[in-house]
């Protein structure tokens, strides 16, 4: 047994193939620095494109694919946890509850009425939507909206599990965001009952 292991060690010695994967792993680890950065004075991700974001796939002419945007905060556990705090404090929770919905549509399922892309969620928050979603323009700054956007996507498991927040010190609701399985967005959602105009 010992000889076998010794042979393995000899085999490893001087072969880059055995050294590269661990090095790559180490590099990968360093990428995780970003997950824990506590950025206090950062310029928020650019939000210029958001004004022209598409909310529907319908379009004249040949079909163009939907744009996909990246929200840097989805890589950052602290930013997502800040998003979660703002989600509670800005009273998102008043209508959407802890993702299960009620007065507003649920956010932890796979259906997205106005799109699941970060820029689409951003513009939904900033612009407001018919049937009850208020506009937060000028009431939240871009940085805060991007954080809430990241958190909202974590509700349906769209962000990595080691970034998504865990349970709160509250009465237990749905399982924590970090234990939520990723739900691929359903394309044509349609308006759920809960999001319809109250009659």
């Amino acid at each position: 047994m010992k000889h076998l292991l010794r042979n393995i060690v000899d085999a490893v010695r001087g072969r880059p193939a055995f050294i590269l994967p661990p090095s790559a792993f180490i590099l990968l680890l360093f990428a995780s620095c970003m997950r824990e950065e506590r950025g206090f004075r950062v310029s928020p991700p650019p939000s210029g494109r958001v004004q022209t974001v598409r909310l529907t796939e319908l379009q004249p002419g040949p079909a163009q694919p939907m744009e996909v945007t990246q929200n840097a905060y989805e890589q950052n556990a602290y930013a997502v946890s800040e998003g979660k705090r703002l989600y509670e404090q800005m009273n998102c929770v008043g209508c959407h509850f802890h993702g299960g919905g009620g007065i507003g549509p649920p956010l932890m399922d796979a259906r997205w009425i106005y799109g699941s892309d970060p820029s689409q969620i951003f513009s939904t928050i900033v612009q407001g939507r018919p049937n009850g979603m208020p506009s937060f323009r000028n009431k939240l700054n871009d940085d805060q909206v991007w954080k809430i956007t990241a958190y909202v996507r974590s509700l349906s498991g769209q962000v990595e599990k080691d970034v998504a927040p865990s349970r709160s010190d509250d009465m237990s609701g749905p399982p924590p965001e970090s234990s939520t399985e990723k739900k691929p967005p359903v394309k044509s959602g349609g308006i759920p009952k809960s999001a319809e105009m109250p009659k």
């Binding site: 620095c33 997950r35 824990e36 950065e37 506590r38 599990k161």
Partner: protein
């Protein structure tokens, strides 16, 4: 065999024949007990001296790292409103400083010294469960590396070394920072528990024949008490940190007040471990003090029984005063008074020890060698720390000084004074035994004075700062509060203290290369580790010694019997009885093995995996099981290894021979 004709030729000369036989035995023992050559043999070593040295160097490395963090903090606090460190980094740094000092330096280094010294002092060939010992070291090393890699990657814990929930909990501790902290606890705790097991077993079963319990050196008693305290304290924190990880990873509610959990539960569990922890660190320190004092006062320690009873009672009382860390949490006052009583009571055994030590000096003829200087420094510093400790035992005073710099000053006085100064004394004392060379004496004295002055300059002003309202764990303070000057003084003292530690390192490196070669017993000490060469051979003693008094080397006759008849072709050791240390049976120790390292790697993989997913727990068990199977795979026995007459003797009254008195 080359010796055969030689032996025949000199058959008449008994002394020479004996020497030849000794040389023969020496070579056989060296072959049996020595590490295998090369890097592989180095990794596979299970010798307590190899592992112990590694352990000490690693712990010292962590001491340096945590010391660097302390310097950074002192730079930040030297002036008000300093922007040298931002609050996030400062919080990580003070957490890492406390965590590293407590979990990766103080407890491990005390165990490490015990791993090296204890078997020598007891006259044993190796520590009990040598493979477990190697495993304990590797687990500790990997846990420490994990924590520091996490810190470098900005995933360093930032909720304090006490990690109070809810701040360290799932809602307020975003990311994986607190998880790395909690998992580091698991590593340290596994390591501490296995080493405690070895220490207890070695103490009770591997003592030299004749070393009955009332002849055991005080140092050995102190590490025994430490090991038992580890045994009862560590499981609490292991369970608490496991609960914290479960709260964070899978959303349990142990510490969630909204679901019937309680943040104060964490504090009870943490301090039920955390307070004994400081005695785990301090008690071996007292062992160093007793050993060094006795040697350099040139007399037996005064009040042996009283000292042992003090150690044991400190071990017991140490578990009854954790609540004094929680006087401000709103617990019922009458209950708190009970803990005031317990806290104040622990000053009694400490007082007994101090008085006995002073009596030892009084009745002895002190020699001011460098180890002794550190012990004298210990008296000054530790007594101040003890006094401020008694003050804080009183609930009303504690309510004022709790979580202020007064407390910071207090515990640095007791921990640096009570543990680090004796430890540096121990470094100076045992350096020749460990390395074979004397540590520079002049530089040793200089080290002491620089450290002593630096220490007091750093930490004394903190008493005043605390009373003047400066809370702990603040990354900065405002200029108008008037704390700037004393903080600057403390920082200046910190520079001096750092310089002292650097001097020690310089001295050690210089002495390693060019120090005076040490004789077997350069200090003229009384305990058994000085009965062998410096440094000791892999098998510790050519013939394991026997003991007929407490201060063996001072009182034994020139023809003190030694143990012969142990096999030198396998790792055979003599196991003695618990109370009177009469020979009980012979046991065979396992060979060197790489499996402890592999098992430690598998354990590490599982521990780190569980930070990210609960599935790592069951899945990670598989490689651990595989490596443990390799570890415990039965050895093929050769039939001739156990001659029948020897097995028969095993049941007889005495199956070993003492040289000089044939049985």
């Amino acid at each position: 065999m080359a010796e055969e004709p030689l032996k025949r030729e000199l058959a008449n000369d008994e002394a020479l024949a004996e020497e030849v036989a000794d040389e023969h035995e020496r070579r056989a023992l060296e072959k049996t007990w020595g590490d295998e050559p090369g890097f592989w043999g180095w990794l596979a070593s299970t010798n307590h001296k190899t592992v112990g040295k590694r352990f000490i160097y690693t712990a010292f490395g962590f001491f340096i790292l945590a010391g660097i963090l302390a310097v950074l903090m002192r730079v930040q606090l030297a002036r008000p409103e300093s922007t040298f460190l931002n609050p996030d980094l400062y919080n990580q740094i003070f957490t890492m400083h406390g965590t590293t000092m407590m979990f990766l330096f103080a407890v491990p280094v005390m165990e490490a010294v015990a791993v090296f010294i204890l078997p020598l002092m007891l006259g044993a060939r190796n520590i009990a469960f040598p493979r477990l010992n190697a495993f304990g070291y590797w687990v500790y090393l990997f846990g420490g590396i994990m924590l520091w890699v996490a810190f470098v990657m900005n995933v360093g814990p930032d909720a304090g070394w006490f990690a109070y929930v809810p701040l360290s909990g799932p809602e307020y501790g975003a990311g994986k920072r607190a998880d790395f902290w909690a998992q580091m606890i698991t590593f340290t705790e596994v390591s501490a528990l296995v080493v405690a097991t070895e220490i207890i077993t070695t103490f009770f079963k591997l003592r030299a024949p004749g070393m009955s319990l009332n002849r055991v050196p005080i140092y050995c008693w102190s590490v025994l008490v430490m090991a038992f305290m580890v045994f009862f304290a560590m499981p609490t924190i292991a369970w608490a940190s496991a609960c914290l990880m479960m709260d964070r990873l899978i959303g349990t509610h142990f510490f969630n007040p909204a679901e019937g959990g309680d943040p104060l539960l964490w504090q009870h569990l943490f301090w039920f471990f955390g307070h004994p922890e400081v005695y785990i660190i301090f008690i071996p320190g007292t062992g160093f003090v007793s050993t060094i004092l006795s040697t350099f006062s040139r007399r037996p320690i005064f009040g042996y029984t009283a000292l042992v009873l003090s150690l044991v009672s400190t071990g017991f009382i140490g578990f009854g005063l954790w609540v004094h860390h929680m006087f401000a949490t709103g617990l019922p006052r009458l209950g708190e008074s009970f803990f005031t009583g317990a806290t104040i009571m622990i000053a009694i055994p400490s007082g007994v020890q101090i008085f006995c030590w002073i009596a030892t000096l009084w009745g002895g003829r002190p020699r001011f060698k460098s180890p002794m200087m550190f012990v004298l420094g210990f008296f000054f510093i530790f007594v101040i720390g003890g006094m401020t400790g008694v003050m804080q035992g009183a609930v009303p005073v504690d309510l004022q000084v709790h979580d202020t710099y007064f407390v910071v000053a207090h515990f640095h006085y007791v921990l640096i004074g009570g543990a680090v100064f004796p430890l540096f004394g121990a470094f100076h004392y045992w350096f020749p035994k460990v390395t074979g060379r004397m540590l520079g004496e002049k530089l040793g004295h200089l080290t002491f004075w620089v450290m002593f002055v630096g220490f007091n300059l750093t930490f004394f002003p903190m008493h005043i700062l605390g009373l003047r309202g400066m809370p702990r764990r603040v990354y900065t303070y405002q200029p108008h509060l008037g704390w700037g000057d004393l903080n600057l003084l403390a920082s200046a003292g910190g520079v001096l203290l750092t310089l002292g530690v650097l001097l020690f390192i310089v001295n050690a490196l210089r002495s390693l290369r060019a120090g005076v070669l040490a004789s077997d017993n350069p200090w003229g000490a009384a305990t058994l580790e000085w009965a062998t060469t410096s440094p000791p051979p892999a098998y510790n003693f050519l013939y394991p010694p026997t003991v007929d008094s407490r201060d063996t080397l001072w009182t034994q006759p020139a023809d003190q019997p030694v143990v012969v008849g142990l096999r030198s072709d396998v790792r055979e050791v003599l196991v003695t009885r618990t109370l009177d240390a009469e020979p009980d049976l012979k046991a065979e120790f396992p060979d060197s093995s790489i499996w402890p390292l592999l098992a430690a790697l598998a354990t590490t993989a599982m521990f780190i995996g569980t930070i990210f997913t609960p599935w790592a727990f069951p899945v990670g068990m598989v490689p651990i099981f595989a490596t443990l199977t390799g570890w415990f795979w039965p050895k093929k026995r050769q039939a001739e290894e156990r001659p029948p007459e020897e097995v028969k003797q095993k049941h007889g009254k005495r199956y070993y021979k003492l040289r000089g008195q044939e049985s």
